[in-house]
């Protein structure tokens, strides 16, 4: 496999439409443009499927399908977004229906309350955003908190915060309007913040309530 990736592509290959390429050239371009996104795809697949096995299958199917339809991809354009769209479609058709959506109703009901309290709560309790609150949160807590979010919020947060996709790209990957992406991000982050603040309070990283902090200060 290294033979394909070690060779540097000539400029001609970059501009040549994929359908005009030989199988070898096609493999080379695929190796350079698609394969580097394997980890990102796997990470996203893990977070939406909640299963190692499903994530591996999803990623493998994504690459097989991407290679089969590689002629539809224009070299030099956004390969990562293209691959994520394929993975998302595969997930929607083959995996989503088998997954339960735990606590969906519960979350919807609580969403409004979260919206109201989370911001005042945070600003009151954490005085300095640079300081210990964030540094004391372990990777596991962040990952767990994200994993616990309803899938629609989880997807948007991973695609935006972790994978750096734009609103427009996320809206294309998930096939929802940009406004929906924005509100899911907003709500998802609020739920996440609230969870992390509760966690931090439980662990004594931040005080139980603001009065304590004000008194002691």
């Amino acid at each position: 496999m290294n033979q394909a990736t070690d060779e540097t592509t000539t400029d001609n290959d970059e501009t040549k439409p994929i359908e005009d390429m030989t199988e070898e050239e096609k493999q080379e371009v695929f190796g350079e443009e698609a394969l580097p996104h394997l980890n990102a795809l796997y990470n996203y697949a893990r977070s939406i499927s909640h299963s190692k096995q499903d994530a591996e299958d999803l990623v493998q199917e994504t690459f097989m399908r991407a290679y089969r339809y590689f002629h539809q991809y224009t070299p030099g354009t956004n390969c990562k977004a293209w691959l994520f769209t394929i993975l998302r479609n595969l997930y929607n058709t083959n995996y989503k229906q088998y997954k339960k959506t735990p606590d969906q109703v519960h979350y919807e009901a609580e969403e409004e309350i979260y919206e109201q309290i989370v911001n005042e709560d945070l600003t009151a309790v954490i005085k300095d955003p640079e300081e210990e609150f964030f540094e004391n949160i372990l990777p596991d807590e962040i990952v767990n908190a994200i994993e616990d979010l309803p899938e629609k919020y989880r997807s948007c947060i991973v695609l935006s915060d972790v994978e750096d996709f734009s609103y427009k790209e996320i809206s294309e990957i998930l096939d929802v309007p940009i406004g929906t992406v924005m509100s899911r991000l907003h709500r998802g982050r609020n739920i996440l913040k609230k969870k992390l603040v509760n966690y931090a309070k439980d662990k004594g990283i931040i005080p139980e309530d603001e009065d304590v902090l004000d008194d002691e200060d």
Partner: protein
């Protein structure tokens, strides 16, 4: 630009989805408003921390090998 507008728009700023001209207005406001500066700083940091701490899982090596083999 006032605090109410910042509250409505900060997400665009944090996610770098804001026009440059608007970004300047937000920055101008923040210079004179510690509350908004705090809020935006917090959101930026929050987003960064999610990225930093979430990017820990990489695909298993055998999956990479399997895919490469299948493509050969």
């Amino acid at each position: 630009m006032d605090c109410r507008q910042i509250l409505k728009l900060y997400q665009l700023y944090v996610d770098q989805e804001m026009d440059n001209s608007m970004v300047d207005l937000v920055k101008q406001h923040m210079e004179n408003c510690p509350d908004c500066q705090y809020r935006v700083k917090f959101e930026v940091k929050f987003s960064t921390i999610i990225r930093k701490k979430f990017k820990t899982r990489s695909a298993p090596d055998d999956l990479k090998e399997r895919i490469k083999k299948k493509l050969d």
